[in-house]
Amino acid sequence: MTGNLNLVGYGLSAIGPGVGIGLIFAAYINGVARQPEARGMLQPIAFLGFALAEALALFGLVLAFVL
């Protein structure tokens, strides 16, 4: 069986952003549960944080194919 070790490396690098995205949405859910009327304000912030954390995973994906 042949393959590319890059992809294993990408799997490892995806752990960090995965945990980060989990934390972001946990905080968002907590916030909405405590104060449901703040949902409209929290939602863009949560998605912004999600997008930033996700960007790291995407860099990993691109590098896995490029390197």
Binding site: M1, T2, G3, N4, G40, M41, P44, F47, L48, F50, A51, L52, E54, A55, L58, F59, L61, V62, F65
Partner: protein, 264 residues
Amino acid sequence: MSPLVLAAGGEGFTPPGPEDFWWPIVGSNTSNWTLTRPAVMVLLSVVLIGWFFLAATKRRSLVPGKLQFVGEGIYGFIREGIGRDLIGSKDFRRFLPLLFTQFTLILVNNVFGIIPFVQFPTMSRIGFPIGLTIITYLVFHAVGLRKKGVVGYLKDLVPPGLPSWIVPFIFLLEFVDKFITRPITLSLRLFANMFAGHLLLLVFILGAEHMILDLGPGFKVVGLLSAVLAVVMTFFELLVEVLQAYIFTLLTALYIGGALAEEH
């Protein structure tokens, strides 16, 4: 990527890779001016969006019909949920056409990824996200520069009230973020999501096809499981596709709002 040969099966299985995203229709395989499948699809999406919103706004009435309701719903979502909240109620109106166009164009092109017979996300070719990102990049820097002037815009990168020794570092960080990281992440995010999602579907579907058609009875069960997962992943893709269209528009609005904001 080298072909992966399954140990149990006699025949080789070539896993899908980046080369599956190259679909020339007219023209040579190497020319820069080849008409490709995503290029045709982006034209198709423009026709579809134009047709839909012309039809939705043709017979406007106080009590909206079905089409008008959907059209107004999408527009209202962009206007209230993204434009007004993030740019601010003073300036958001002049950016609504941009935000609305970006959202609908990206949404339709992304959802093309799971519509039968079309089934290819346009944005998985890096050129299309780069084009969209260039527009966002020029717009948010242009409005910021026009409002504050060059000196004011650069000065505004650093939040006020910092100790003076830290200001150069923060300036450098913010400068790199606004001028280099933002466009790269904005285009890469859309591209990589669509690319990875399509690749995932290819892995499950091609894997299922290979295992069911070419391999022994034990593999047929696994192949069926893989086919079921492909269906599940298709629905997951729909979620990701809508989310990415939303996030791209959201970030555009956020960047414009940040460039226009008076003080931090």
